[in-house]
């Protein structure tokens, strides 16, 4: 049985997403004004990363059942 790549990939993106969201919440908001046109990109893209990871995990789980 081959390892389903969606499993580690989903997990990785979920963890990266959580790290980004966490950092987006605690970081000084001034860095977003200085860099990303005032948008909290860590929060936004952290959510997208986590969502992508979640979908991958769901697909892997669905394939196994």
């Amino acid at each position: 049985m081959q390892l389903d790549i969606r499993l580690p990939m989903g997990l990785l993106f979920l963890i990266l997403g959580v790290i980004l969201i966490g950092y987006g919440l605690i970081s000084d908001q001034a860095i977003y004004a200085a860099h990303s046109l005032g948008q909290n990109v860590n929060l936004i893209w952290g959510a997208i990363f986590a969502l992508f990871g979640g979908v991958m995990l769901w697909l892997a789980r669905r394939a196994r059942e």
Binding site: Q2, L3, I5, P8, M9, L11, L12, F13, I15, L16, I19, L20, Y23, G24, S27, I31, Y32, A34, H35, S36, L37, Q39, V41, N42, I44, W45, G46, I48, F49, F52
Partner: protein, 587 residues
């Protein structure tokens, strides 16, 4: 990759963008590397036979092979180099995708994969042995093996030099660390591990670079703002409108910044170089040959073509954005270092955008994506190298009766040796830059004619082994002679630039010279193989050629009721139609 010799080295100049990382960035990088190594570790038990190690046991689904197919090609030379070209040439850089990649990817999927996959050859050189003879195979295997370890070394060098320049990391430590990571995951998981990591890296690049592009677009005032500033920039450069259209300025070589006219572009890049790369380079073909069945193998390059045609938005657009920002507000809006020639250091486009738009957190993601692409560029070359070395050189010339367990062991040792040679190449590149350029030039001579013998071999059963072998040598010689007699404008004659025999013709740019050299090499090889084949007796019977030549091979049939997107022909046509559409939209 076809662009390696044509683009600037990915290595930055002396001045560079400087980045500082925070704990969260290191955390992200560290997490990624734990997964990379973990994947190799997790599948190490699946590596029981040499086929598992070198061919993934021919078991992977089409979508994974497809992402590996473009992932192996999406090295950092592409990410950094295409952004650099986007800044240097504008939208016309997309010709490297919409002319220089997609048509060839569709062709290899529909017409050529049946022979590679159906013949049960384990590598591209082995196909040449079955179709032609042993000497043609060995010639191809040798030049390919040298080229792959060399390319892997260039990736290693570029990665270490970039990290050293923008992060101040130790050069030696970068070489050792990147080599070790790639070693661990290929040694334990073989081709499957490399492909899985290419899939990971693909998504990381897409999701990591998309925010960069979106922020840049928003900053410059959307697409209209981008076009307005690019028009201003191109007017200042004396070629009004050349940065914001792909075809309108291709009438003559002096009207566009690439310095090439449409015929040289389409025939040289779009046909000879592109088909030569995508249809014969084992680095990419190996990914398709790992597919679980014929249908999946044929759809691999076709599925890969879909994201590939969108890539300009991800890798070229950043360069265009950077140059537009630069035009708009100078170094106040983007900190692009200026090179000695007064132009911005184009290779610093991506680091400069990362520094500008990414706060800590996303900065870690951007750097991880960049490092991932360097490493998968290395890994792709190393997996292709160990397969060709083990099957086509070692097994053939040193141990024809080797057991499968022995071959598996040789493959693993070759991985170690291949990475060691890569490291030697990387250090050689720091000391003798000219030797590296020379080597790339010689590879150009060898590669340019290659597609001709595959084309004749697959579609003309009368082509013979002698015809292919000597045709290939003739094409290579033609490339060298062409180079020796031509020169790009503004260059002095030298071994590296050309004109070392005499200067018969001057091209508008080095790229025009290399495209036309490819056309000349291909034509010579094609005619040479054709004529020599007619003059020699066929060395393969029709029975031996079954499955290797178009007219003697049953066409693969799809099960009735298969959806259009699961059938190679309609899928390929849709991909082509979409590519034509993109060319028209960005005309």
């Amino acid at each position: 990759m076809i662009t390696l010799a044509m683009l600037d080295h990915a290595a930055p100049g002396s001045s560079a963008v400087s980045l500082q990382l925070a704990f969260v960035d290191y955390l992200i990088l560290g997490t990624y590397f734990v997964f990379v190594i973990g994947i190799g570790w997790a599948i190490r038990r699946n590596m029981k036979t040499s086929s598992d190690f070198f061919e993934s046991g021919r078991s992977l689904p089409a979508w994974i092979c497809a992402l590996g197919f473009i992932g192996a090609n999406l090295g950092a030379q592409e990410v950094i180099g295409m952004a650099a070209s986007g800044a240097k040439y504008g939208i016309a850089t997309s010709h490297f995708y919409w002319v220089g990649a997609i048509p060839a990817m569709v062709f290899v999927g529909i017409f050529m994969m049946p022979f590679y996959y159906g013949s049960k050859a384990r590598s591209v050189p082995e196909y040449l042995k079955l179709r032609f003879d042993e000497k043609t195979r060995t010639l191809n295997a040798l030049s390919f093996a040298v080229m792959t370890v060399f390319s892997s070394g260039i990736s290693m060098f570029a990665l270490a030099k970039l990290l050293n320049a923008i992060l101040g990391w130790n050069f030696d430590a970068c070489i050792i660390a990147s080599g070790l990571v790639v070693l661990v995951y290929i040694y334990s998981g073989g081709l499957t591990s490399a492909i899985y990591n290419e899939v990971l890296q693909f998504f990381l690049i897409v999701l990591g670079f998309l925010p960069l592009v979106l922020l840049g677009l928003q900053d410059i005032g959307g697409w209209d703002g981008l076009m307005k500033n690019l028009d201003g920039y191109s007017a200042a450069k004396g070629m009004p409108g050349a940065w914001s259209s792909s075809w309108q300025h291709m009438g003559s070589a002096s009207a566009n910044p690439i310095g090439i006219e449409w015929f040289g572009l389409v025939a040289g890049l779009g046909f000879v170089l592109s088909f030569g790369y995508w249809c014969t380079d084992f680095l990419v073909i190996q990914r398709a040959m790992a597919a679980k069945d014929m249908n999946a193998a044929r759809r691999t390059p076709l599925i890969a073509a879909i994201p590939k045609m969108m890539f300009p938005a991800l890798v070229i657009l950043p360069g265009m954005l950077a140059i537009a920002l630069y035009h708009k507000g100078g170094s106040a809006s983007i900190a692009l270092p200026i090179g000695t020639d007064g132009n911005p250091d184009y290779n610093m486009v991506v680091p400069a955008l990362l520094a500008k738009y990414f706060p800590h957190g996303m900065l870690g993601i951007g750097l991880t994506a960049l490092m991932a692409s360097f490493m998968s560029g290395m890994a792709g070359n190393v997996t292709a190298f160990n397969t060709v070395w083990t099957y086509d050189l070692y097994q053939r010339w040193f141990k024809p009766d080797a057991s499968d367990a022995h071959l598996l062991k040789v493959g693993r040792i070759t991985t170690v040796v291949g990475l060691l040679i890569s490291a030697v190449c990387a250090y050689a590149a720091t000391k003798f830059n000219n030797i590296m350029d020379m080597l790339q030039l010689v590879f150009g001579f060898v590669n340019a004619p290659l597609f001709a013998i595959f084309l004749l071999g697959m579609f003309w059963r009368r082509a013979t082994g002698h015809g292919a072998f000597f045709g290939l040598l003739l094409g290579t010689l033609a490339a060298a002679v062409f180079h020796g007699n031509t020169l790009p404008a503004g260059e002095a004659a030298s071994l590296l630039k050309g004109g070392w025999i005499s200067v018969q013709h001057t091209f508008a740019s080095p790229m025009a010279q290399s495209f036309w050299m490819a056309i000349c090499a291909f034509t010579s090889c094609f005619l040479g193989t054709f004529l020599i084949s007619l003059a020699t007796t066929p060395n393969r019977t029709d029975e031996e050629l079954r499955g290797l030549v178009y007219s003697l091979t049953d066409k693969p049939q799809e099960a009735p009721g298969t959806a259009w997107y699961a059938r190679p022909m309609p899928l390929g046509l849709v991909v082509l139609a979409a590519t034509v559409g993109l060319n028209i939209i960005f005309w």
